[in-house]
Symmetry: C2
Subunit: 397 residues, 2 copies
C-alpha cells in the first residue's frame, strides 16, 4: 500500500516537473516505473539531454514531492480522485498516443503526444467505463447559432443512444455539446486544461456543477494549475485518444479545434466534420478539413454512429491496449522491426541500410520498439526481445 | 455542298427517329456515317434488334426527312444554326461520352450516354470556343436563398476570370448561375432539354433574351420538341461532358442534380459540391454526394478554379479528342483489347476466358473497340486493326 502510494505521488510529482505529454518523461517512466523515474530525476541521473532539459527548470525550484502530497490532499478535500494506469478504471485506449504521429507537425507537437501519467477525476462514474462508448464534439468558442444548434442536436442524439459526449468545457460548441448530452439525460465528460479546483471559464460554474451530477470532470493537471494557452493543445490529445472519434462542428480557419482533429487522425480515430454555409467564417476551418484531410463529412448523429460503430466492432468493449501491437506499428517502425535478424544483435547503422530508413528515424523507432518491449538493447546493438513478450505498454496499461 | 446538306439533314432526321444519346443510333452513325445510317434505317436494313427497336416506333410514323427539312427552315427563321461534328465549331470534348461508364447505373441510363448527333445553337459565339473554358453550375429548382446567393457568387467569380458558366436554364440554382455570370459581363450558356423555339420555363423569357445578347442557347432537340421529363436527364450528360467540371450547389436527397454529377464523374470531369447547413433539406443531396462519391468540396470560385485548372493543364486548349485513346478506355475494354492476340483472330468466347470478363460485357466492349477502330471483325472472330489506325472517333471528331 505504501508502495502504491509512492507510485501515485511520483506520478503527480512528475506532472509537476514537466507538462503532461512530455515524451522524454513518459519514456523514462515506461522504462523504470514512476518511482524510480522520479528518483532518477531528483538525483540528476538522467539518460539524455532531452530528458534533463524537460525537467531542469522546475527541478531547480525544489523537491516536488511535498507539493505532490499537498495536491493529493487538496484533491481529497475537493472530492477528486487520482486515477493512474495501475488502477482498474484507467482508460487504456490513451496508450495509443505512444504510436501517434502527426504528419508535418513540428517537434514541439510531437513531444506533446505521449500518454498521460495520471488523471484527476471528479464524478461518480469509473473513468474507463465512462469513456468506453464515447464521442468527442469540439469546435469554436465563438460559435454561431447554427453551430450551437447542431452541436446540441448531435450531442442529444448520441446521448440518447447511450454514448458519452466528451468535450472541453469551453464556451460555444463545447458548452452546447455538454448541454445537449445533459438534456438527453446522458453522460458527458469535460476534459479540462487546468487544475480540477479551477472553474474555467468562470461563467461555466453552473454547467460544471450540472456535469458533475451525472458525468465527470477530468484533467491531467494537479490542483492549482492555471489554464495556460499551450495546455489546451496538450489536453486536446486526450480528447482525441480517449474517445472513439471526434466531431468538429464549427472552426475558423487554422483554429485550435482543427488541431484536435489532427490529433484524432494521428491516433487513427475517425475525424468527423460537420459542414456549414460557405458564407460563414465559422465553417471555413471545417471545410478546409474536409478538403485537405482524411476527415469524413457527417450531418447527423446517425452518420457519427456509422463511423464510430465501425471502430467499435474492431475494438474490444473495454480496450485494454491493442491485441496485436505489431499490426499497429507505423510503417517505418514495422520496417525497422522486420529488419532485425532473428538471432543476434544489429547496430542502428546496419538497420538503416537494411530497413531503407534514415538513421535518425531508425533511432527514434528503436526507442519506441524498446519501450513497447519488441526489442532489447545489447552489447552489439539491438536484438529482438525474447518471447513471450511482456504486455505491450509496460506501466501504462 | 449538297452532300454536306444531306449529312446535316440526316443527323436531324436521326434525332427525330430516336432520342439524342441513343447508343444504337450513335453506333450506326459512327460506322456508316449519318446519311448511310439514315438510309439503312429507312430501308429497315439494321444490324441488330437493339437498333431496330430504337427507331421502330417513330419510323412507323413516316419518313422523317421532310420534318427535318422543316426543322432546318424553322431554325433559320429563329436565327438558330445547326452545329454538327463535321463543323469547326463542334465541341469535340463531348466525344468523351463514348467511354462514359456509370457504375451501378441501369441499362437505360447507359443507353443515354452516347455523344450528341448535332446541336441547335442561338447566339454569336462559336460553340467550341464558348465551351472551351467552361464550368457547369447546377442544382435544385426549389433552391433556398442561401443556395441562390452562393450560385450567383460562384458564377460571378468564374465569369470575372473569363470562364463560361454553363447551366440548364431552370428555376433556382440554374437561373442564379446564369444571372451571376451575366452580372459580371461574362459568357453563359443555357443547355436546354427541348426545341430552341420553346421557352421553358416561360417565366425565363427575359432571362433567355439576356443570355442571347452575349451567350448561347443550345439544345440537341429539333424545334418543336417538348421539355419532357426524361429529356432533362439526357440533356444533363451534355452539361457534364461539354464543360471542364460541374459544381453542385443545392440538391435534395436523390435529386436530378446529383444525376448530372454522376455523369460528370462518369466522364472523368471534376465533380464539385458546395456544402450547406446540415439543417437544410436542400443540402442533403450535396452532403450525400460528399459522403459517398468522389466529389470534391468547394466553397469559392478559387476552389473551383483549382479543380478545373488541373484538368486544363492536361487538356489541349481546344480538346480535339484524346491523343492516346487507348489510355482512355475503361478497365474492361482495355482488358478485352489486351487479350486479343497480335496475329490472327479470336472469338468472343475465348476472349471472355482470357480477359476474365463475362461474355455479354466482352461483346459490348468489342462493339466499342470496333467503333473506335481498335479491332476489326473477321471470319474467325475479332482481330487487332492494322496500324496506322484511323483517328479514333470517326464521325464525331
Amino acid at each position: 500500500m505504501a508502495e502504491v502510494d509512492e507510485v501515485r505521488r511520483a506520478r503527480v510529482a512528475l506532472t509537476m516537473l514537466a507538462e503532461p505529454g512530455t515524451r522524454a518523461v513518459h519514456r523514462l517512466v515506461a522504462r523504470h516505473g514512476p518511482a524510480v523515474a522520479l528518483a532518477m530525476a531528483m538525483a540528476g541521473d538522467l539518460p539524455d539531454k532531452e530528458t534533463r532539459d524537460a525537467v531542469a527548470a522546475r527541478l531547480a525550484a525544489g523537491d516536488p514531492r511535498p507539493a505532490a502530497e499537498a495536491a493529493l490532499a487538496t484533491g481529497d478535500r475537493l472530492g477528486a480522485r487520482l486515477v493512474v494506469p495501475e488502477d482498474d478504471e484507467w482508460p487504456a485506449q490513451v496508450s495509443c498516443l505512444e504510436w501517434a504521429f502527426i504528419p508535418g507537425a513540428d517537434r514541439r507537437v510531437d513531444k506533446e503526444m505521449a500518454p498521460p501519467l495520471c488523471f484527476w477525476v471528479r464524478g461518480e462514474w469509473p473513468l474507463a467505463e465512462a469513456f468506453e462508448r464515447s464521442v468527442a464534439i469540439v469546435g469554436a468558442r465563438a460559435a454561431t447559432q447554427y453551430g450551437e444548434h447542431v452541436a446540441t442536436d448531435l450531442a442529444y442524439g448520441l446521448a440518447e443512444r447511450e454514448w458519452t459526449v466528451v468535450s472541453g468545457g469551453a464556451f460555444g460548441i463545447d458548452a452546447a455539446a455538454h448541454r445537449g448530452a445533459l438534456a438527453a439525460g446522458g453522460l458527458t465528460i469535460a476534459v479540462l486544461a487546468c487544475g480540477i479546483d479551477r472553474v474555467y471559464p468562470v461563467a461555466h460554474t453552473a454547467l460544471f456543477d450540472r456535469i458533475l451530477e451525472t458525468g465527470l470532470l477530468v484533467t491531467e493537471w494537479p490542483p492549482g494549475a492555471d489554464p495556460l494557452r499551450p495546455r489546451f493543445l496538450i489536453r486536446n490529445r486526450v480528447i482525441a485518444a480517449a474517445t472513439r472519434g471526434t466531431v468538429l462542428v464549427e472552426a475558423a480557419a487554422r483554429s485550435g479545434a482543427t488541431q484536435t482533429m489532427r490529433r484524432a487522425l494521428a491516433v487513427d480515430r475517425p475525424a468527423m466534420v460537420v459542414p456549414g454555409p460557405v458564407t460563414s467564417a465559422m465553417s471555413v476551418g471545417c471545410h478546409e478539413m474536409l478538403r485537405h484531410e482524411s476527415a469524413r463529412l457527417v450531418a447527423s448523429a446517425a452518420h457519427v454512429l456509422e463511423e464510430v460503430g465501425r471502430i467499435g466492432a474492431d475494438l474490444a468493449p473495454t480496450p485494454q491496449g491493442p491485441e496485436h501491437p505489431r499490426d499497429q506499428l507505423d510503417d517505418q517502425a514495422a520496417f525497422v522491426l522486420e529488419s532485425i535478424p532473428r538471432r543476434g544483435a544489429v547496430n542502428p547503422d546496419a538497420l538503416a541500410v537494411s530497413a531503407g530508413v534514415d538513421i535518425r528515424t531508425v533511432l527514434r523507432k528503436l526507442t519506441l520498439l524498446e519501450t513497447l518491449g519488441f526489442v532489447v538493447r545489447r552489447a552489439g546493438g539491438y536484438a529482438l526481445a525474447p518471447p513471450p513478450r511482456r504486455p505491450a505498454e509496460g506501466d501504462t496499461s
